[in-house]
């Protein structure tokens, strides 16, 4: 006879294991037919409305349905069994064995101490990062994604790169083409402004990621501005080239 413990099968969820038996608790408010005792529902041992037995396949067989209100749950709250006579064999069911009882592993004071020290340390640095840190303080940077308050009447900017290839074609350079996300590129924009030659690194990244396509001779940083009015896009936008890099060095 297999013991199916709670949680191994969804069907058994409502039943308490009792050795190889299962007790289903009476619903809250159900009353005993003989004495009128009211069930407080789950968590009130001693008030069961059905007892089941499990066979080797893990299937449940209903043993008895009725008058089980006064079934005592052996080993629980010190109640000893006065099993109902209709429950054949109930009192013979083995009490839960010691192996089924949860056991708590001990943790030495020193092990607790270093864990507490680490917790306090990491929490303090994280708080510091939030209040005074910058992005460069990662992993303790402030949690600032979407933290800026964007004005309701200023245009929403979206940056993209356009390139001119050796063949003279104008193409859109996607993030994956240069190995950088849009936001990363936007983050480095001030650097590019200061030192335009740095954009040559973007052209090189493009060559590495697109070895079979013609190289770029020019890269334009294009900002698309979507107009906002009281937080509502006016459907109007315009593109502006804010930065241009040319391979031959001309501006």
């Amino acid at each position: 006879m297999a013991v199916v413990t709670r949680g191994t099968d969804r069907r058994h969820r409502d039943w308490e294991p009792f050795g190889t038996w299962f007790i289903r608790h009476a619903d809250r408010g159900a009353q005993c037919r003989t004495c009128g005792l009211t069930s407080r529902g789950r968590g009130s041992p001693g008030l069961a409305d059905a007892v089941y037995q499990v066979n080797a396949d893990g299937d449940l067989r209903v043993i008895c349905h009725v008058d089980l209100f006064h079934l005592r749950w052996l080993g629980c709250q010190g109640n000893s069994g006065t099993a109902n006579a209709t429950l054949l064999g109930m009192s013979e069911a083995p009490p839960p064995s010691a192996a089924d009882q949860p056991s708590v592993v001990r943790l030495a004071p020193a092990s607790k101490a270093w864990r507490i020290v680490i917790t306090v340390l990491v929490l303090s640095i994280t708080m510091y990062g939030t209040l005074w840190g910058t992005d460069s303080d990662f992993p303790f940077a402030p949690f600032r994604m979407f933290a800026n308050a964007d004005p309701v009447n200023k245009p929403v900017k979206s940056t993209r790169l356009e390139g001119i290839t050796e063949n003279g074609d104008r193409i859109v350079v996607r993030g994956a083409d240069v190995g950088m996300r849009r936001a990363e590129f936007e983050g480095q924009l001030p650097r590019f402004r200061k030192d335009r030659d740095l954009m040559a690194a973007l052209a090189r990244a493009y060559e590495r990621r697109n070895p079979n396509r013609p190289d770029l001779v020019q890269i334009d940083v294009v900002v698309r501005e979507f107009e906002l009015k009281e937080g509502k896009p006016t459907k109007e936008y315009h593109d502006r080239v804010v930065l241009t890099w040319k391979r031959d060095g001309t501006q």
């Binding site: 413990t5 949680g7 191994t8 099968d9 396949d57 893990g58 192996a99 089924d100 949860p102 708590v104 592993v105 943790l107 092990s111 607790k112 864990r115 507490i116 917790t119 929490l123 994280t126 708080m127 939030t130 209040l131 910058t134 460069s136 303080d137 990662f138 992993p139 402030p142 949690f143 600032r144 994604m145 979407f146 933290a147 800026n148 308050a149 964007d150 004005p151 309701v152 929403v156 979206s158 993030g175 994956a176 240069v178 190995g179 950088m180 996300r181 990363e184 936007e186 983050g187 480095q188 740095l198 690194a201 973007l202 990244a205 590495r208 906002l228 009281e230 937080g231 509502k232 896009p233």
Partner: protein, 288 residues
């Protein structure tokens, strides 16, 4: 019990080791998902010339390798190889420590090019605390461990920080007026979807969602102190919140969602056992 003792005990409430085993499988199986799908952009940094690498501040103190092509590819491969045995609960400490450090390095590679994300705080904490616990068996609900309790609680704190400290960052960078700003409008303009773009015509809805987000983030620490049963309900609510965010602005904090599973009684989730019992029953049925 004095208050300090009570706080210490709160950190070390014993939990079943089965939860740690399940969290290991989940956390380590997520590594390939993250590397190949949810953050597949990180590996592209291998092709970015190192002039565009912006070293993080901690590398002033701790010497740290510049992410050259070779470094990025090596870390990528090592993560993909080590995570498989680790997900199977093999050598949890021996594999867990290198995985935590390698993933941290992966995040350094990710965040050193001009944009820093904050969606992985809880997940990184989870990776660093998992190897502080020894062997754990799947489905072990009987062995309760205070060390496992600490690991789970600090991961939960990391998850809550991601919300709570994001609210503080909003106060710091956006000011209290953040709730009335066009931040979500901007997000929808830049990365909106079918589910959200119509809302651009009703700015008050987007503004209301900002009030909701701010309140939710500020109140999120409450979840730490709920009874386990209510924690489960709250966390299901959190998951739904992220689904809605994904549907509207195509942003999903997947690693954060993995770490959030630390709130759930994962020790009771036994997919392989369920499948096996389903099959054995099927076999009995066909034999008859």
């Amino acid at each position: 019990m004095n208050p300090i003792e009570a706080i210490v005990n709160w950190f070390f409430r014993p939990i079943p080791l089965g939860r740690i085993a399940a969290l290991r499988t989940l956390a380590y199986l997520f590594i390939p998902v993250d590397l190949l799908v949810s953050a597949s952009w990180v590996v592209q940094h291998k092709d970015v010339p190192t002039e565009l690498y912006l070293p993080l501040n901690f590398t002033d103190v701790i010497p740290w390798p510049t992410p050259t092509h070779a470094v990025v590819v090596t870390v990528f491969a090592a993560l993909l190889i080590l995570c498989i045995p680790a997900a199977l609960n093999i050598a949890p400490r021996l594999l867990g420590w290198p995985l935590a450090i390698l993933y941290f390095e992966w995040m350094v590679i990710a965040m050193s090019y001009g944009k820093v994300d904050h969606d992985r705080f809880g997940y990184m904490i989870l990776l660093f605390v998992l190897p502080t616990i020894g062997k754990a068996k799947w489905g072990d609900t009987k062995t309760l461990s205070p060390a496992a309790g600490w690991a789970v609680v600090v991961t939960q704190i990391g998850v809550v920080c991601t919300y709570f400290l994001a609210a503080w960052a909003k106060l710091r960078f956006g000011g209290i007026d953040w709730v009335n700003s066009a931040t979500i409008t901007r997000a929808v303009v830049r990365r909106g979807t079918f589910f959200s773009e119509w809302m651009l015509d009703y700015p008050w809805m987007l503004r209301a969602s900002q009030y909701g987000i701010f309140a939710f983030e500020m109140l999120s620490p409450i979840v730490l102190f709920l009874k386990p049963r209510w924690q489960v309900f709250a966390v299901i609510g959190f998951y739904l919140f992220h689904v809605v965010v994904y549907a509207t602005i195509t942003i999903i904090f997947l690693p954060h969602l993995v770490a959030m599973a630390a709130f759930l009684p994962l020790e009771k989730v036994r997919p392989i056992v369920w499948l096996r019992s389903r099959f054995s029953r099927l076999r009995v049925a066909t034999a008859q």
